[in-house]
């Protein structure tokens, strides 16, 4: 746990030093969502209908933006080898990096999501559900993304492969989240979908760090 916090803190400090690392995903998200009302035109009803999907897809893509470099730098400079040698804590270190990734790319998205929702004419009633779905869903995306980043570490052009690898894995999160938001928008109770998102997240938190650690180990064997 301690190692997790050390790595997360260190990564955060580094990210704040290079501003575009945390600014770029946010900027991308804002831009994509802002262009939708302009492209579709003044049709509030249509916008409200697609709002959940648009915001979630943009969040998903923004999450992928900074994934490729997640472990690459440390693999190149040799710190990854040193991680491996720190007695048995590789999953904790990997989880620390994932936590930092979520705090940098996921949390800002959640914070500005009410703004995006207003932009997309999402009904007030669904606002809370949108925020909640992002809160439960984006950590899963960060975890899956980290796993993808660790798995594609060996390939020179990992970016495309990475997207291809994690897009299908992210589909359940996307489906449950958008369905929760649109249910809430039409006055139904989104509890089931939110619980499912929570279950997926718990599942991912307990298992994925170990999978990331295994993937990093395999990479270092090459």
């Amino acid at each position: 746990m301690n190692n997790l916090l050390i790595i997360a803190g260190h990564d955060l400090r580094l990210a704040f030093r290079r501003r575009n690392e945390w600014f770029q995903p946010l900027w991308f998200l804002l831009l994509v969502v802002a262009l939708f009302p302009l492209g579709i035109g003044p049709q509030p009803a249509l916008l409200a209908q697609i709002a959940a999907g648009v915001i979630w897809i943009a969040a998903l893509l923004a999450n992928m933006l900074s994934l490729e470099s997640l472990f690459r730098e440390d693999a190149n400079n040799g710190r990854l080898e040193q991680w491996l040698l720190m007695d048995g804590s590789l999953p904790a270190l990997a989880a620390g990096r994932t936590t930092a990734h979520w705090l940098i790319t996921g949390l800002p998205v959640i914070l500005i999501s009410p703004l995006l929702a207003a932009w997309m004419q999402l009904p007030q009633a669904a606002m809370g559900t949108l925020v909640l779905s992002l809160l439960l869903g984006t950590p899963t995306l960060s975890l899956l993304g980290s796993l993808g980043a660790a798995l594609t570490l060996g390939s020179r052009q990992g970016g495309m492969l990475l997207a291809l690898l994690i897009a299908p894995l992210s589909v359940p999160v996307l489906v449950f989240a958008t369905s929760a938001v649109s249910d809430a928008a039409s006055g139904f109770d989104p509890e089931t979908q939110l619980l499912l998102l929570g279950v997926i997240l718990l599942f991912a938190i307990t298992l994925v760090p170990f999978a990331i650690a295994a993937a990093l180990r395999i990479h270092l064997q090459e």
Binding site: N2, N3, I6, D74, N77, E81, L84, L85, M86, L220
Partner: protein
């Protein structure tokens, strides 16, 4: 605690080719193994096996906690030397406050007279300076076993002498080291044994591949 490292009939295959045949090493406190061999003989691979970065195809390696400094120095380019060392210190030890950490880093850097590198960014260092910054890890946290892959490459003569005397002092104090190097002779290190890795011929490789 008398032994530091034991490697028993270790071999490693890369793409079904044996890299250096079979190697056994036993290292007691105060001992030192000098690893030599031509380029491509597998010195780096063997050191990584001993460190536990790589897993042997056959045989076993057991060792106590060690310092491993490989070709990749483990320095983040955008951090200063001090920040880099702080990262290691915090992950290796518990309950070191800021003041103590700074003190220990200064102490570690001064062993190779690298104190002036402290607030420089690792990315801006010369190859020799970066090596010295990485080698400071040896003194950050005391560990009995040092695994060093070409530690003298890129160092100037003064630094080589300093490092050599540090290694001698380390071994005299009951520590041990495995050093892969072209630059050293047995005379440089007391009680050291030499392990020369043979070059395995391509012909043998091909036979292996066809099996």
């Amino acid at each position: 605690m008398d032994y530091l490292l034991t490697a028993d009939k270790v071999s490693y295959e890369r793409f079904y080719r044996s890299v250096f045949g079979t190697v056994s090493i036993h290292l007691d406190a105060g001992g030192c193994v000098l690893l030599t061999g031509a380029n491509g003989a597998g010195k780096t691979t063997l050191i990584k096996l001993l460190a536990g970065v790589l897993r042997p195809t056959a045989g076993t390696v057991s060792s106590i906690e060690q310092h491993f400094i490989g070709h990749q120095l483990g320095l983040h380019q955008e951090l200063t030397v001090q920040e880099n060392l702080q990262w290691y210190l915090r992950l290796w030890t518990r309950g070191v406050d800021r003041q103590q950490a700074k003190q220990r880093i200064d102490e570690a850097l001064s062993r190779l007279q690298s104190l002036s590198l402290r607030s420089q960014r690792a990315g801006g260092l010369s190859a020799g300076q970066a090596k010295r910054a990485a080698l400071a890890r040896l003194f950050l946290v005391p560990r009995s076993l040092w695994l060093l892959d070409e530690p003298f490459v890129n160092l100037d003569q003064a630094s080589i002498d300093l490092l050599l005397s540090e290694i001698r002092a380390h071994c005299a104090g009951g520590g041990g080291a495995v050093i892969a190097s072209h630059a050293l002779g047995l005379a440089d290190l007391p009680r050291s044994q030499r392990l020369k890795l043979p070059i395995i011929r391509p012909a043998q490789h091909r036979e292996h591949a066809h099996e």
